[in-house]
């Protein structure tokens, strides 16, 4: 059961130079919550992908916009909630066909696939003009 209040909540500018800081912060939070370094690195990549999508697609690189990032801990997992406005996101294809993407000379479209492969659940919601992306990773039983 996740705590009601976030363990950490930050607001960042919609700028790609924030990404490395977000990746490092997420990795630290995941390790603090008992994830292995390998899992923590993957979780931080999923957050990078989610924030990049917000900056690129929802805010179309408008650096004046803000993104809210919250981490909720539980004994057996970590939930990350990203809240933003702008263009509502789409989940994209559930599976990527790399050969098709290569033929189409596509450079984008891998981010959501990575998020889904790394996290146990990825959910986008839009209520009014507020969008959110909620991702959960459960700890593996050893």
């Amino acid at each position: 059961m996740f705590q009601d209040k976030p363990q950490l909540s930050i607001v960042i500018s919609s700028k790609t130079d924030m990404l490395k800081m977000v990746v490092e912060l997420t990795r630290h939070i995941a390790i603090l919550n008992g994830f292995s370094i390998t899992d923590a690195q993957k979780i931080s990549l999923a957050v990078d992908e989610a924030i990049t999508n917000v900056i690129t697609h929802s805010y179309q690189k408008n650096e004046a916009e803000k993104i809210n990032l919250e981490f909720f801990s539980a004994a057996n997992g970590l939930k990350i909630k990203i809240t933003f406005s702008g263009v509502p996101p789409t989940m994209g294809e559930p599976r990527v066909d790399l050969n098709k993407m290569i033929k189409a000379k596509k450079k984008g479209g891998l981010g959501v696939a990575l998020m889904k492969r790394i996290m146990d659940s990825v959910e986008y919601k839009t209520i009014g003009n507020i969008n959110s992306c909620e991702m959960i990773k459960w700890k593996r039983e050893n």
Binding site: K20, V23, K42, K105
Partner: protein, 118 residues
């Protein structure tokens, strides 16, 4: 502070790219510029030596993916080598390991091109 750098060298007709550091959406243009420059100069045999690459997000992988068709149509290829375990795992997560050659070291990657040209 710059946390990504890329340099390249040309060995006869094969270019070797050395991305270094943390490759994400913030600095992907630097990496893409190098690939565009090579392809624009008809250098279509490219080895990406990832020995100093600590991190890659889908932005970086997208650049490697976006030019592959054009390069293969011209008879070239992109091969990757010397990846650390963490970076290799990221490529593997999206299935790149089924599409690209991943080699242990630069020499093996260069030889792979040379074997094909013989």
């Amino acid at each position: 502070m710059k946390y990504f750098h890329v340099r390249s060298k040309l060995l006869h007709e094969i270019a070797v790219l050395y991305p270094k550091g943390h490759l994400d959406a913030h600095n992907v243009e630097r990496f893409e510029r190098e690939i565009i420059k090579l392809v624009g100069n008809d250098v279509i045999k490219i080895v990406v030596n990832c020995k100093d690459l600590n991190y890659i997000s889908s932005a970086g992988m997208g650049v490697i993916m976006g030019y592959l068709d054009e390069i293969r149509e011209k008879g070239g290829d992109i091969k990757l080598c010397s990846l650390n375990e963490r970076v290799f795992e990221i490529f593997d997560l999206v299935g790149f390991t089924d599409i690209y050659d991943f080699l242990n070291d630069e020499k093996t990657a260069l030889n792979k091109f040379n074997d094909v040209s013989r």
